[in-house]
């Protein structure tokens, strides 16, 4: 499949968007960056909700915009799915009416519920079909909005911070649905967020944006761990590793995975040996020691090299470590950093207190 080409230039009073991207034609590509970085504007340009004076976008041989040839396909003629921050369900229609809205526009027969049963079940909305939107919770509304977009069998799914308007509990309720969707969809998904948590859980490809420009792009594990970003000092900062399942130790309720010729123990994983997995390690769960500890309860101790040290103004120190080609973030106190006399290039050991499995 050909990659998608997205080139846009747009200027507002104090804001410039200038991107030239080749986006993968499968998987979830997360557009990540602080607010005002232009990620939503980029998404809106792709959808045609915003008309960039200079722009080019092509998908599956369909050109949606080519300002060079004065071509601009209006949003309603683009085969896309769009999920907004707010669900934006039509208040005068039931859930079913909302789901059928797009199909009716195309003069297609009304939705075949049997055929789409799987999708509705995946999103957990089969029991809501005859309710009006005002009788749904925030999470339910957003799930209906996702189903409404997907029922049209779009060529691409655009999601603009679909979880941002939900409280934490609802977020945790909806994330599993998104992860499941991710595994079932064959179309590319462009997902805008400023939450590192969502990036870690959903992204295959990561595009990092700042003040209207793309500052980094690549596979999740490289990009997420490599770049020097403000979010590496965030309390919830973490590293993500792509690992392979080595063996199970059911007697200890543990599974063993391999990363860069090192072994890592995780709580028992229900998957066959050899499976590729994604694990997330919070920086706050990583501590450093200069010598390999001999007697310790911590199972995961990996040799590493200090790549970068950064102090913040609150006594915290963010250390970026290197394990072969992988990188790992650690949060320690500035006092500890001084006691250990940390310097870049130093060899030491990272003790990992906890890991969580993603996806």
């Amino acid at each position: 499949m050909k990659p998608l080409t997205a080139r846009f230039k747009l200027t507002y009073s104090e804001f410039n968007l200038a991107v030239d991207l080749q986006l993968p034609s499968t998987g979830v590509t997360v557009l990540f960056g602080p607010s005002g970085s232009g990620k939503t504007t980029l998404l809106r340009c792709i959808a045609g909700l915003e008309k960039a004076p200079t722009g080019y976008f092509e998908i599956n041989g369909h050109c949606w915009q080519d300002s060079g040839h004065n071509q601009f396909v209006p949003t309603y003629q683009r085969n896309l799915g769009y999920v907004f921050q707010e669900a934006n369900l039509f208040p005068h229609l039931t859930v079913l009416g909302n789901l059928q809205f797009g199909l009716k526009q195309q003069k297609k027969a009304s939705i075949n519920l049997k055929e789409n049963q799987e999708l509705l079940e995946l999103l957990g909305i089969t029991h809501l079909l005859h309710r009006k939107p005002d009788r749904l919770s925030g999470g339910e509304k957003q799930r209906v909005a996702i189903a409404r977009a997907l029922l049209l069998k779009p060529d691409i799914l655009l999601m603009d911070e679909p979880l941002a308007a939900l409280d934490n509990k609802r977020k945790q309720e909806i994330l599993p649905y998104l992860i499941h969707l991710h595994q079932h969809l064959s179309i590319p998904v462009l997902y805008v967020t400023h939450s590192p948590q969502e990036v870690a859980q959903l992204a295959d490809t990561l595009v990092v944006m700042e003040s209207g420009k793309v500052i980094a792009m690549g596979g999740l594990t490289e990009t997420f761990n490599r770049i020097d970003l403000s979010f590496s000092q965030d309390k919830a900062a973490s590293s993500v590793w792509q690992v392979t399942l080595l063996q199970h130790e059911p007697e200890f309720h543990l599974s063993c995975v391999e990363i860069e010729n090192n072994r890592l123990s995780l709580p028992l994983i229900n998957a066959p040996v050899g499976t590729g997995l994604r694990v997330q390690i919070y920086a706050r769960d990583v501590s450093l020691t200069l010598e390999a500890p001999k007697a310790t309860s911590i199972l995961n101790i990996l040799p590493a090299r200090v790549k970068e040290i950064k102090n913040d103004n609150h006594g915290q120190c963010t250390v970026r470590l290197e394990l072969g080609s992988q990188s790992l973030l650690a949060h320690i106190t500035q006092k500890s950093a001084q006691v250990l006399d940390l310097r870049t290039g130093m060899q030491l050991y990272a003790q990992i207190k906890g890991t969580s499995l993603l996806g």
Partner: protein
């Protein structure tokens, strides 16, 4: 009891108000939509123009219309050119005057209804393959139903209640321009108080019933500035 002349006046009033309301919805809907959505600097000017009947004495509006529709007025010349004769003192003239007089009562509730529809709702419709026209008919109109109910009722009742404009441009011609409000005035002039009581009572009962239904049915009834 009501005389034949009274019944004629009632029937004429009903015809004028119905036709005017129909025309008002036809003109008012696109006008209100434009006013609710446009970033154009002309918006303030048009808004002020539409709202004029709210503050002008009806006689002022009637006076200008009389001049304009008269044989030497711009509209009068046009209608003459089109072989339609003069509009003043005719049923058609009365309907046109009513439309202008009641315009803000239809445009403002519609504008309020349209304003309350979030831009994103329309964008969501576009991402679901709805053309702008389909969005208007399948999203905007159904969501704005309470606004249309308010606009129709206010437009109709306000037209029924007009007096000053009618006197200025319609006069007092039986079956053509003699509406209920004028007929009541005639009765009072002739000291026929019982007749006046009957007609006035009819209008009072009608207006109250309609407003009572409006305020009972709607979750968000029209506000004072919409009623005047």
């Amino acid at each position: 009891m009501l005389t034949t002349a009274d019944l004629d006046a009632l029937w004429l009033t009903f015809k004028v108000a119905s036709l005017a309301t129909f025309l008002l919805l036809l003109i008012g809907t696109p006008l209100a939509w434009w006013l609710a959505r446009t970033p154009s600097p002309a918006k303030g000017f048009i808004n002020a123009l539409v709202s004029l009947p709210l503050v002008l004495p009806p006689t002022v509006l009637g006076f200008y219309l009389l001049i304009l529709m008269g044989p030497s007025g711009a509209i009068g010349q046009l209608t003459h050119f089109l072989n339609l004769g003069t509009l003043s003192f005719t049923f058609a003239g009365l309907v046109i005057a009513s439309v202008l007089y009641s315009l803000p009562f239809v445009v403002q509730p519609l504008q309020t209804a349209f304003n309350s529809i979030a831009e994103q709702t329309l964008e969501a419709a576009a991402t679901l393959r709805a053309s702008p026209i389909s969005t208007f008919f399948n999203v905007v109109l159904p969501i704005s139903r309470p606004g249309f109910l308010t606009a129709s009722i206010l437009g109709f009742t306000h037209t029924v209640g007009e007096f000053g404009v009618v006197l200025m441009i319609g006069g007092n011609i039986p079956d053509k321009t003699r509406v209920v409000s004028v007929q009541i005035y005639n009765h009072v002039e002739a000291l026929e108080y019982p007749q006046a009581h009957w007609l006035a009572g009819c209008l009072l009962a009608f207006s109250f019933t309609v407003l009572f239904i409006l305020y009972s049915v709607l979750k968000t009834p029209p506000q004072v500035q919409q009623l005047k």
